[in-house]
């Protein structure tokens, strides 16, 4: 009996992700024995601290879960509160929310594509090193990011933790001139987004395919951002409250996560790959063309090519923003009044990195009795671990340094937001 060769790959602090995590891969006898993506981000107990707060406070408080995608938290919180209170907001409010959310998609995707993900494909430690070789590309990414931030600043007041969002709508509606002034930078951003698709389509991708159960919103004929029903690649079609009931979360000692699964189905993947696969028929024409030119089929199951899908979504967000800017009419009043009642409600929206749903139970006076917040990264964690195993197995010929980098990249493929996930995740017992 041979004495098994053992090889351990460990990354104690995964870089270029949002938050603090580590990964460990144990290889025995030439095959992957164990893969652990560990979250050592400290828990912040949002579900606990929301208890006893007013329903109107949830958007601002939950925004603080994530500085990268605060609008996603605000929008899901508002949707949940409005569902609980039986309120449907004015169409112009919906349109302004979608426009604000486009800003967040643009800044978050530009950050991920250019500063966090692209350096992997080009063998650079970071975007600064990349800029030494290809300054023009990095400058294009920064321009795009700024264009997204500009949208958020105009509508939300600022880009990190916007202040203008409230349950029912907005504190005030930007004037038509302020919104019209966004058109020119957004036209330039659309050009930059199209150039981004062409740029990333030329990268070299490892030949790996995942067998994913995709989950994303579907929102009538529109690419899903701020609302919709929950659909899956294996036939699910439920409203957000129905989906929340189907999702089971397990707190286990081995992992650092509450592992999310769909009851009776299993682990799943949310995010750009899922949205694209389930909503390809709703892509704006300019985005469809860009996707076709980039060689994306109707479904992309290579996680490394998620950067191409993210770039296509940059085109979606820029072209949607241009449409919404052109059609803008200030909502009047800027918020639909919402009167609290004893009820529960679920809201689901598409954060840049995937589906984010909130469920709240309110008392008759609008006090929060219970809160449940399920961010995309916790929903994706089992799938990311499965990806890591698959990628590691396909890459065992690489030396330790290259294998480590490849595995880090396999994590970054899904743009995990560990800060988000960790509001209810924690380091557990190390073995």
């Amino acid at each position: 009996m041979s004495h098994g060769a053992r090889r351990t790959i460990g990354v104690e602090g995964i870089s270029r992700v949002e938050g603090e995590g580590s990964l460990h891969i144990d290889v025995r006898d030439g095959s992957v024995h164990e893969v652990i993506l560990e979250i050592f981000e400290p828990p912040r107990y949002f579900e606990a601290l929301l208890r006893g707060r007013r329903f109107t406070e949830a958007p601002d408080i939950t925004a603080r879960i994530c500085g990268i995608c605060p609008v996603a938290y605000q929008m899901s919180a508002c949707a949940a509160m409005e569902a609980a209170c039986g309120v449907t907001v004015d169409d112009r409010i919906r349109a302004l929310r979608r426009l604000l959310y486009c800003g967040e998609w643009i800044q978050s995707h530009a950050l991920h594509v250019y500063l966090l993900h692209a350096p992997d494909f080009l063998g650079c430690a970071d975007a600064v090193e990349l800029a030494e070789r290809d300054r023009g590309s990095v400058e294009r990414g920064l321009r795009l990011k700024r264009a997204g931030n500009q949208l958020m600043e105009t509508i939300g007041g600022r880009s990190v933790h916007p202040i203008n969002v409230c349950v029912g709508g907005f504190y005030s509606a930007p004037g038509p001139a302020a919104i019209a002034a966004l058109a020119e930078p957004m036209r330039a951003a659309l050009d930059d987004a199209l150039a981004t698709v062409a740029w990333v389509a030329g990268f070299e991708f490892p030949d790996v395919e995942g067998a994913y159960r995709f989950v994303a919103l579907r929102d009538g004929g529109r690419y899903p951002i701020e609302s919709g029903r929950v659909a899956s690649s294996d036939g699910l079609d439920v409203d957000p409250a129905g989906f929340a009931e189907l999702v089971e979360e397990e707190h286990v000692a081995r992992s650092t996560a509450l592992h999310a699964r769909i009851r009776g189905r299993g682990p799943y993947l949310t995010g750009p790959l899922a949205r694209y696969a389930l909503n390809g028929d709703t892509l704006p024409v300019v985005a469809r063309q860009a996707a076709d030119e980039a060689g994306l089929g109707p479904v992309c199951a290579n996680p490394f090519r998620s950067i191409v899908v993210r770039a296509v979504e940059l085109v979606v967000a820029c072209s949607e923003a241009l449409r919404l800017i052109a059609e803008y009419e200030p909502p009047d009043p800027p918020a639909t009044p919402v009167v609290a009642r004893r009820a529960s409600g679920t809201g689901a929206t598409e954060a840049p990195r995937g589906l984010l749903f909130h469920t709240y139970a309110l008392d008759a006076a609008g006090g929060i009795e219970a809160a449940r917040i399920v961010p995309p990264t916790s929903q994706n964690q089992l799938t990311i671990e499965a990806d890591l195993r698959r990628v590691a197995e396909a890459s065992l010929a690489l030396d330790d340094g290259e294998l480590t980098w490849r595995c880090e990249q396999a994590v970054r493929n899904h743009d995990p937001c560990i800060s988000c996930a960790a509001h209810f995740l924690d380091v557990t017992v190390r073995r």
């Binding site: 995964i14 606990a48 601002d60 950050l111 400058e139 349950v167 504190y171 380091v427």
Partner: protein, 283 residues
């Protein structure tokens, strides 16, 4: 007598100052603010060497670091040790944001019963290794400068980095949001419309953005050094705010800052003495 002229070595002249960015319990938003300096980022990284910043780079160079920016609060036993290591490796340590300077929104656990939060969120609280408190960095190690805000302001961050690299104190205003409203020409919401507003007791820095959008200040930048919170709380109560709502207003992202902490406690006591209901509408 001859004088020997001394000048820095070529090596020292060429050496760029090193910057490290550290994260504790937080949302990443304050360190993202550095990456949000889209127009300045490449110029900044030409002038300084980013030695450790895991959100941005795989590279991590050992200290000592000329300047460390610290985001987040201390909430675990491991982090209470790690912040000492960061301090030891840093010539200058600047804390950024409400978590690092006041304990952040997660500091609300400081007002709860011991262990209550973990058992609310986790099926198995015994797996969790977390402190019952969330405390600012300055409660653990000496801090050279505190930059406030939830989130911090981009322009103030650039000023702080520039100032410390130039060896001077940052020029960051200590006055209240009210002054920024006046500079901006915003009509006072509190006086004109009776909208609850923490502007009079809140540190400037955001540009008085909320009142400009028709919303009262909710205290993201924490109390000014001379905040008269009892006086403002009296005005809010006179205008009809219940003690329960006043407690909440002072108890958010900077709940642990002494002036806000003490006022929220005073309002909580007032509420316990005379319980009242609160309104049900969203605005």
């Amino acid at each position: 007598m001859t004088t020997v002229a001394t000048r820095p070595s070529d090596e020292a002249l060429q050496r760029r100052p090193t910057l490290a960015v550290w994260k504790f319990a937080s949302c990443d938003g304050c360190q993202l603010t550095l990456l949000d300096c889209e127009d300045e980022l490449l110029g900044l990284t030409a002038a300084i060497q980013v030695a450790h910043f895991s959100e941005m780079t795989r590279t991590s160079i050992d200290g000592p670091y000329d300047l460390s920016l610290v985001e987040g609060s201390i909430t675990t036993p491991a982090d209470a040790i790690r912040i000492r290591e960061v301090r030891a490796a840093s010539r200058t340590l600047v804390t950024i944001g409400a978590c690092a300077t006041a304990g952040g929104i997660q500091g609300l656990r400081n007002f709860a019963a011991k262990g209550e939060y973990a058992s609310t969120v986790y099926a198995h609280p015994e797996y969790i290794s977390s402190l019952d408190t969330s405390t600012p960095i300055a409660a653990h190690v000496p801090v050279d400068y505190e930059l406030h805000g939830c989130p911090i302001d981009r322009r103030q961050l650039l000023e702080v980095i520039t100032a410390f690299l130039a060896g001077r104190r940052p020029v960051v205003p200590g006055f209240s949001v009210c002054q920024e409203c006046k500079q901006r020409g915003t009509v006072c919401l509190l006086v004109a419309d009776g909208v609850p507003c923490l502007g009079p007791v809140t540190r400037a820095g955001c540009g008085a953005v909320c009142p400009a959008y028709g919303r009262g200040c909710f205290g993201c930048f924490g109390p000014t050094d001379a905040a008269n919170t009892p006086s403002l709380a009296g005005k809010l109560r006179t205008d009809g705010m219940t003690p329960v709502d006043a407690t909440r207003l002072f108890r958010t992202f900077n709940a642990g800052a002494p002036a806000f902490r003490d006022e929220s406690a005073a309002q909580e006591r007032a509420g316990a003495a005379a319980p009242e209901h609160h309104g049900r509408t969203s605005r």
